[in-house]
């Protein structure tokens, strides 16, 4: 890649930051060039982000329909999955899945709610609502 070929087309997922790329200059030497972004990166990053957002939105709909608890929504919102949430909280995976049942989530102790909240950087109040 020549330094004038380094993509500068912008990449909204970089949030205005630029990244360092290596490219060949006129003298044939490779050096760092700041890139404002490549569409290819934007596409694959968006793809991953959108997939996570889709999971969160899907869970939110099911919370409204009373099919799952707000916990599942917040887990996806925090870009986690059950294995990761299990590692962070130290709870068994089956126990977390059980807490996805709205009736059981309702009755969780303050201590458990706090544990979930800490894991995802939320207050207990935020954790109880899916919005």
């Amino acid at each position: 890649m020549l330094d004038r070929e380094v993509p500068q087309e912008g990449n909204s997922t970089l949030g205005g930051q630029r990244k360092a790329m290596y490219a060949r200059g006129a003298d044939g030497k490779l050096h760092i060039v700041q890139s404002a972004g490549w569409e290819v990166e934007e596409i694959v990053t968006r793809q991953a982000v959108e997939d996570l957002n889709r999971l969160a939105e899907d869970a939110r709909q099911r919370v409204i329909a009373g099919q799952t608890s707000a916990l599942e929504y917040h887990m996806h919102k925090a870009r986690m999955d059950v294995p990761l949430l299990s590692q962070v909280t130290g709870l068994w995976q089956w126990r977390i899945r059980r807490h996805f049942r709205p009736d059981i989530f309702q009755g969780l102790s303050a201590g458990l709610l706090q544990r979930y909240g800490d894991a995802m950087g939320l207050s207990v109040e935020q954790l109880k609502k899916a919005d």
């Binding site: 290596y22 050096h31 760092i32």
Partner: protein
């Protein structure tokens, strides 16, 4: 001496390059990467990230930090902590003593990172060089960010004590003693040979050139599964590892090419310059692979995993020839 930040493409080589320069041994990021033989390829179907297999274009985390110790006669000290309080206290002590401290963190909890890139990736390296006296915020040099940044103690604590795959456990590292100018004629050929061994002679078929072919086979199989959405997630993940996660482009092939140019100069061996050019061409082929993949994800061309698999096989063949030539030249 006042700390000087520099923008790098990869976090670990960037941190080590800044740290070494601060210690009086100016070494480029590319040199830090190549001298520690960090280039690789690995397709790890057993390790899943959000249900997708891990693909890596470099050696595992900490490989660069550890790999630089021997050639530079440097002793790095690593400390992990059981409690966040102890980890934070130790960081403060070291900073008060004027030490530069490297840290392993989770990208997800670093507030200055772009929102869309904050995934649960636990092996991001940043350097702390001080604390703001008024606010108590940490002054950080994150190599993949253009300028220095600050981070509130609570956020940094979360980032350092994140859990999950590759959990940092508050890892801190700092040098003991000073690095010395190495005997380039000795250390460079050794580092290059080690890289060719990693890419060519791995005993397990998922590492090195064989790993690229293994990945090609896995992508080929997506055709038969008849699940286009899942196939797109799979190939998208490969490209993210190659381009999105600070690799300097082409899955670290360009940064290694920059290293080979430096090595050619230090050793006065023009053959390495020619090899560097070949590697730039191979890096361009990786970028073409990424471009095709992205077009297929966006349906600008029909989804065709076999075509991507063939492209990967062509790259694997070229890399095999390249690393054999490199071995001879070293």
């Amino acid at each position: 001496m006042e700390f000087q930040h520099s923008h790098a493409s990869h976090c670990e080589s960037g941190v080590m390059s800044s740290m070494l320069r601060h210690l009086g041994l100016p070494i480029s990021e590319a040199m830090a990467f190549g001298l520690s033989s960090a280039l690789s390829f690995a397709y790890l179907p057993i390790i899943k990230i959000n249900g997708l297999p891990l693909v890596a274009y470099r050696m595992p985390p900490k490989f660069i930090i550890k790999g630089l110790q021997k050639p530079l006669g440097l002793k790095m000290r690593f400390e992990t902590f059981r409690s966040p309080e102890a980890g934070e206290q130790r960081l403060n002590e070291l900073l008060d003593a004027g030490q530069l401290v490297g840290m392993q963190t989770s990208v997800f909890w670093l507030p200055y990172m772009p929102e869309d890139l904050r995934f649960h990736f636990n092996a991001h390296n940043v350097l702390a060089y001080g604390r703001d006296a008024a606010s108590g915020d940490y002054l950080l040099s994150d190599p993949v960010v253009e300028t220095t940044v600050t981070c509130a103690p609570a956020d940094l604590r979360r980032a350092r004590f994140a859990k999950g795959v590759l959990a940092p456990k508050g890892l801190l590292y700092y040098p003991e003693g000073k690095p010395s100018e190495p005997d380039w004629a000795k250390v460079l050929p050794k580092a290059i040979k080690k890289t060719t061994r990693i890419l060519l002679d791995s005993p397990i078929p998922i590492i090195g050139v064989r790993g690229i072919r293994r990945l090609a086979n896995a992508i080929e199989r997506l055709d038969a599964q008849g699940k286009p959405a899942a196939a797109k997630m799979f190939i998208g993940q490969v490209v993210r590892m190659q381009e999105e996660i600070g690799t300097g482009g082409g899955g670290f092939r360009f940064i290694y090419a920059a290293f080979l140019q430096e090595a050619a100069e230090r050793l006065a061996r023009p053959a390495l310059n020619e090899l560097s050019e070949t590697l730039v061409d191979i890096g361009d082929e990786w970028r073409e692979f990424a471009l095709s993949t992205a077009r297929m994800i966006r349906d600008r061309e029909p989804l065709n995993p076999s075509k991507l698999a063939d492209k990967l096989r062509a790259i694997a063949d070229r890399e095999q020839v390249f690393f054999r030539d490199l071995r001879r030249a070293a």
